[in-house]
């Protein structure tokens, strides 16, 4: 075989593997979207046949059914509100802490930093029970607050901000100080505009971690009025009668807004995650 022939073969095999991987990764997604368009009974009975991908009849009936059976809009609103609050408040609180730890004359700085690093190792599942106990005792069950406030201060976010600010050039602050700006003004007008990459990374990473939350709302909420989407899909799945078309339609509706955001900002998602990996 000549060299060009070998390269051609190699390229062909590579494309074949890429095609197989893509099929495996995308199949569940396609299956979900197609299934959501089919009559309820057909979803399960045709799941193992080609009709799972090429349906005989399609309609949006499942979408209207799902929206009729559960308050989907409410769940969407709950998820949006909870995660927006966690991310936005988290950015403010954790960026300030990361900056103070990295650059300011903070009393007890070493202890504070050690605390952040120690807390980073504690998995949420290990503290969920006493936290439940603590917050139920002050009557916070079934509220938005209980799903937001405990997750604003985040050791990983603080650490990401801290390590970014540590490497920022000192000249930035010195110039601001010569102009007579105080610490807060320096932070807001000089530091924040120069820290866009870390803000983007923390936004994406903290959102990805908080938006799938299941255990905590499962423990803390009993009313649909404050439940977020992941818990809602899990309980919709157990709601009789089990209509698979409706369940998949619910699934498509719940990821659709996020998929749009993801596709528009996919570069930010990818660099955000990659950055957290390189730093962590």
């Amino acid at each position: 075989m000549s060299v060009t022939q070998r390269n051609l073969w190699r390229q062909a095999i590579r494309l074949l593997v890429l095609g197989l991987c893509t099929t495996a990764m995308v199949a569940p997604l396609v299956f979900m979207i197609i299934g959501s368009l089919k009559p309820d009974a057909a979803v399960l009975t045709e799941a193992g046949t080609l009709a799972a991908i090429f349906p005989n009849e399609v309609s949006l009936q499942n979408y209207t059914d799902a929206a009729r059976r559960v308050p989907f809009g409410r769940f969407l609103f709950n998820s949006a509100l909870i995660n927006l609050a966690i991310v936005v408040l988290g950015l403010a609180v954790n960026a300030l802490a990361g900056y103070a730890l990295a650059r300011l004359d903070l009393p007890g700085k070493k202890i504070a930093l050690a605390l952040v690093m120690a807390v980073l190792v504690i998995p949420f599942e290990a503290i969920a029970i006493p936290l439940f106990y603590q917050l139920s005792a002050i009557g916070l069950r079934d509220s938005y607050l209980v799903q937001i406030v405990p997750f604003i201060a985040n050791p990983l976010s603080i650490y990401l901000f801290y390590s970014f600010f540590l490497n920022l050039p000192r000249e930035l602050e010195e110039a601001a100080r010569l102009d007579g700006a105080g610490t807060w003004r320096t932070f807001i007008t000089i530091i924040v505009p120069n820290a866009k990459p870390v803000f983007a990374a923390v936004t994406i990473v903290s959102f990805l971690f908080s938006w799938g939350a299941y255990l905590w709302p499962l423990l803390m909420t009993t009313r649909a009025a404050v439940r977020p989407l992941p818990l809602a899909i899990a309980s919709f799945y157990t709601l009789p009668p089990r209509q698979w078309g409706d369940i998949l339609a619910f699934g498509v509706m719940m990821v659709a807004p996020l998929l749009v955001i993801f596709i528009v900002f996919q570069r930010w998602f990818v660099t955000g995650v990659a950055n957290s990996g390189m730093k962590g």
Binding site: M25, P130, G212
Partner: protein, 295 residues
């Protein structure tokens, strides 16, 4: 100088108070509760009972079963997912148009909440010949495949949950590894090729060492996540069949909430924390011996 210091305190305080109230305090409370006989909703007073709950948990076969399952999850998910992610990253690491599309597709499951992923995969694993995976395997084997009820089969339930987890998590790792691949200096590959190193040897001596830090990161994160598994198990199998997929976190929740044994749940939570801490320390130590870690 005084002014800078007050501002610093003001900036650091909200986050430190948050961590104190919502992480440190419940953590100390977990330790405290684990030495008592506290039950949820019990009218009796709380008493100090020493190590009683620990003795109970450590002599409970269910707890060991859960721990063993967690080890099995880690043993399957960590190598499986890392290998898949590395393979995908290598496939995508070439200057071809359209690679962004594939990267986007492979990363997509990461933005799906695990609750939704679990529900969709329940349908994929549906029993009988009409189940998607059963139907596909039947077609692939020309009818020789015996359809099974994957999620209710003691042998298949755990691998089924593993597959679901890998599908959802691989994209995250892939992106981290891809960034690592792209930061390897191409001159190193060229130099190795000049020295007559073939593809495989270049992979072994240039690519892998260049990926050391991202690989450390993804294996540590994935191992810890394998020990924290709860959502998939709760939704797909409820720990069954016959405890085949139960995990430590699942047992913590069962004890504390379904059986109201708050102190027993707390004792398990403390043991669980020690386990995760130990894993983190061991992994950091092992990797440090092989060279510098970023931290």
């Amino acid at each position: 100088m005084k002014k800078w210091s007050t501002a610093a305190i003001g900036m650091a305080l909200p986050a430190l108070i948050g961590l104190g109230l919502f992480v440190v305090l419940p953590f100390l409370l977990a330790i405290g509760l684990s030495f008592t006989n506290a039950r949820l909703g019990s009218p009796l007073g709380i008493q100090f009972v020493g190590l009683r709950e620990y003795v109970y948990v450590l002599s409970d076969a269910t707890f060991w079963r859960a721990l063993g399952n967690n080890c099995l999850f880690a043993a399957l998910i960590v190598p499986g997912q890392t290998a898949l992610a590395l393979g995908l990253a290598l496939l995508l690491n070439q200057p071809l148009r359209g690679m962004v599309v594939f990267r986007t597709l492979f990363f997509m499951p990461v933005i799906f909440p695990i609750a939704l992923v679990s529900v969709v995969w329940i349908l994929i694993f549906a029993p009988g010949p009409e189940g998607m995976l059963n139907g596909f395997l039947g077609w692939l084997s020309g009818g020789a495949w015996q359809p099974r009820d994957f999620l209710n089969d003691p042998t298949w339930a755990l691998p089924a949950v593993v597959l679901t987890s890998i599908w959802q998590g691989a994209g995250f790792q892939m992106v981290v590894l891809l960034a690592g691949l792209q930061s390897i200096d191409p001159a190193l590959h060229e130099a190795a090729a000049m020295d007559g190193a073939g593809r495989f040897r270049r992979f072994l001596h240039v690519t892998l060492p260049g990926l050391r830090n991202p690989l450390i990161f993804v294996t540590i994160v994935t191992t810890i996540l394998s020990f924290r598994i709860f959502d998939q198990v709760r939704i797909m199998t409820n720990g069954g069949p016959k405890g085949a997929t139960t995990t430590v976190v699942y047992e913590i929740v069962q004890a504390a909430f379904d059986r109201a044994q708050l102190s027993r749940g707390a004792a398990m939570a403390v043991l669980f924390f020690v386990l995760v801490l130990g894993l983190t320390l061991i992994q950091r130590r092992v990797f440090k011996q092989h060279g510098a870690v970023n931290r």
